[in-house]
Amino acid sequence: MDALLTGLSLAVTPENLLYAVVGVLLGTAVGVLPGIGPAMTVALLLPVTYNVEPSAALILFAGIYYGGMYGGSTTSILLNTPGESSSVITALEGNKMAKAGRAAQALATAAIGSFVAGTIGTILLVALAPTVAEWVVVLGAPSYFALMVLALIAVTTVLGSSRLRGFIALTLGLTIGLVGTATGQPRLTFGNSLLADGIDIVVVAVAIFAVGEALWVAAHLRRRPLEIIPVGRPWMDREDWGRSWKPWLRGTAFGFPFGALPAGGAEMPTFLSYVTERRLAGKHRDEFGKGAIEGVAGPEAANNASAAGTLVPLLAIGLPTTATAAVILAAMQGYGLQPGPQLFEAEPELVWTLLASLFVANTLLLVINLPLAPLWARLLRTPRPYLYAGILFFAVLGAYSVNFQWFDVALLVLFGILGFAMRRFGLPVLPLIVGVILGPRLEEQLGQALQLSRGDVSALWSEPVAVIVYVVVAALLLWPLVLRLIPGRQGPERLADEVDELEEEVRR
């Protein structure tokens, strides 16, 4: 508690407060704009880590992450197209509410629900992360290795439209992570001395998220504009409050654990929250599909709680579960910070300042989002060529600033084309980026485990935690096969398919 108060006093220093404000403003903006998300923004801002204090940069990034969750809901509700993947579900009821003239209430329940869930989630984070870190610190290299394998397998198999595509992306990521001479021998350097130090994660992240997306948008530049629903200042009456508070709490209960699990992301908990609210709606059951406030309140709370939940494994174990968390992890590694249990002991001031600033960011977001929602919606009128010209400019600047070498810009273009191709062929980006970041650490832990056991491979499953984790990994991999073998059941249902089905059902 003392530590948190110290952190709070550091978080409200003018400089840190400024970074929090910039972070939440930027985060909300990119959340509102479809196609541009917190992962891309944090990737583009990675070069600021060369000049800025670690605590300030992390406050900035966390503000962007939280802000993206808020901003996405505005677009979902007013435009019926999600600003963020985490707000896909919000559009179902939110846009129906807006069309029925209840846009103000939909925005209000989304913003206040996000605040409630974000605050509860952050409290849970503060309570849990140090405990988890203490528990993890006793684990040896074999367990770490197993946990990383779990994280890689989970982000690859649980989300996305197909496992095969997930594994292709993961393989690409791990391969990019292999480049360099970390082990003494050159690997995949093609005799090029510029590749000897490996490929900087900044270049890969910026290329995949920013350049790939910019090329993709350029290829689909002209689209029929969507009708935006005009809205005034968000507000709710007594009945709306009464119908919203329970979904907020239930959404938080879904969001936080799912964020903390390596099955990561906000898609699953927002979906579950929506389905639950619909089931529990009672006399308001008929309103679902026509604009039920519960269907906005629950998923919006869930996505913010999951953002807080994501930070538990990130800070306590050093495992990223979402694309944004992966890029934040890259930033921490850039500072030479080792996320994980050691972080709490080595850098308590940094950790607690970050945690305290999450409360600050969350409050700021409520303050800037509730009255300013109509203003944020105006961002949607920005022509895409202006936006993406700016993004490409910062992308090139960022890649060049890594080593001040043209070679990095060439790599940027190369990986940008890869990012475009992945979008074209439906390969998920998350496994690639997590693979690039975790790959080298995975190898390090493997090397350590084998060194201690003098090359005895059985050491890898010598710790009970490692064995449990491997069982979970096996379950993840075998689950679809098991489902297929059970008679009377169709093949495995994917989350994406279920969401599609739900959408069709509601849109009818």
Partner: protein, 134 residues
């Protein structure tokens, strides 16, 4: 024969629309309303929504004008409008124009000017009723 009008859901577009309806009535011609956007922004206020479109239909029905509305996403609005006028063999192309500030002239091209120069049929340029004090 057909009268083609370049229309946007704003005062300028409305002025052009009303004038074109009068022309179509006077010469017993059809009216083709064209509403075009470059489609580069997620939201474009000059791209008519469903309610704007039905308003136009209602207005034209009350006036007794045979109307068609075409909403287009095009790289270049002026080019698209001229091409559509050519395609239907328009007898007249009606557009709304606005006052432009010197800075605006310096920075931006004019869709209206390009239509005036490029169109192969007569072009009628209409201004919106100006706000008082201008």
């Amino acid at each position: 024969m057909t009268v083609v009008v370049g229309w946007t859901p704003d005062p300028r577009g409305h002025a052009a629309l009303q004038r074109s309806a009068r022309e179509a009535l006077a010469h017993r011609e059809d009216l083709l309303v064209v509403n075009a956007t470059t489609g580069t922004a997620a939201v474009d206020d000059r791209f008519a929504g469903a309610s704007d479109v039905s308003e136009v239909h209602a207005l034209m029905e009350s006036l007794g004008v045979e109307v068609q509305i075409r909403q287009a996403v095009a790289r270049d609005i002026a080019e698209e409008l001229v091409a559509i006028a050519d395609e239907v063999g328009a007898s007249l192309l009606v557009i709304g124009i606005r006052h432009r500030s010197p800075v605006g002239k310096l920075l931006l091209g004019s869709t209206a000017q390009r239509i005036l120069l490029d169109a192969r049929c007569p072009v009628l340029a209409v201004k919106a009723a100006e706000a008082p004090g201008r």
